[in-house]
């Protein structure tokens, strides 16, 4: 049931994010979508991925807010879209705080349920039984042993992006006055 709840949040957040004509609501809905996806990961026993998803999702939303303020889109009530938004704005405004509250309540409830059953699960893992989640040690070992090439390619790609991003986003040099002094 709780997975269904988070699935609903993810879909609702994605829909609002994609089709809202206001960039503020789009960014907040994207954040809710990321939080809901992290809740889904937590419900399936992937704590590391859940926390990573929450952290990165929040950082992405904050970055989007910074850039939309810089480009002047944040103050606009309506951002350009190919078609008009058919979702009444009052519904979006009223439902977004509830959506955020529901996400946090769901995450809290899920965390509580997992803490309550944590002792039994740990015992089962120590006996060599079913693995409910993947611990960080196993994750790191598999990452390095089986996906080392992918890791190196990703690292190289990140380096190229840092350099290329700096080149692309360079400020324009001021044009010199050719008419002389």
């Amino acid at each position: 049931m709780i997975l269904g709840f988070f699935s609903f949040l993810v879909i609702a957040g994605a829909l609002l994010s994609a089709f809202s004509s206001n960039i503020k609501r789009s960014i907040l809905s994207l954040w809710v979508c990321n939080l809901g996806m992290g809740g889904l990961f937590l419900g399936l026993g992937m704590e590391f991925l859940a926390v990573t998803q929450w952290i990165v999702g929040t950082l992405v939303a904050v970055t989007f807010i910074f850039f939309s303020v810089m480009f002047g889109e944040f103050e606009q009530q309506q951002t350009p879209t190919l078609g008009e938004s058919r979702i009444p704005q009052s519904i979006i405004e009223k439902s977004l705080p509830f959506g955020l509250g529901a996400v946090f309540c769901g995450i809290f409830a899920l965390a509580l349920s997992r803490v309550n059953g944590a002792a039994e699960k740990i015992d089962e893992v120590l006996r060599g039984g079913a693995v409910y989640g993947v611990d960080l040690t196993t994750f790191g070992k598999v990452f390095v042993r089986e996906h080392f090439l992918s890791l190196q390619i990703l690292a190289l790609m990140l380096l190229l992006v840092i350099v290329g991003g700096g080149v692309i986003a360079r400020p324009e040099a001021p044009k010199s006055n050719k008419e002389g002094i």
């Binding site: 879909i11 994605a14 994609a18 089709f19 991925l49 480009f71 951002t79 290329g164 692309i168």
Partner: protein, 96 residues
Amino acid sequence: MILILPGLIGGIGLACIIFRKTLLGVLIGAQLLFLGAVAAVIFAGFISGRQVSGQVSGVLIFLSGIVQLVLGFALAIRMFYLRRRISMSELRTLRQ
């Protein structure tokens, strides 16, 4: 059944990329697309019993999405420097 969810998210992201006229809106759609891809790989690993491989692949795709986002922001800054706008129709004028 659980794989329908990533498909839906990816489809919504694709629709957002087509629907939006500004670069920031397209980047939001691209983020949704990457989120769907990450979820698909992770859920497929969960269903097939290969959780670790699925999670590792999901993290790799996740980080690739971050890379794409950084490049998108760099391009948006460049467009803003040149045209003072980040409309998608202005992209084709960058070659001038």
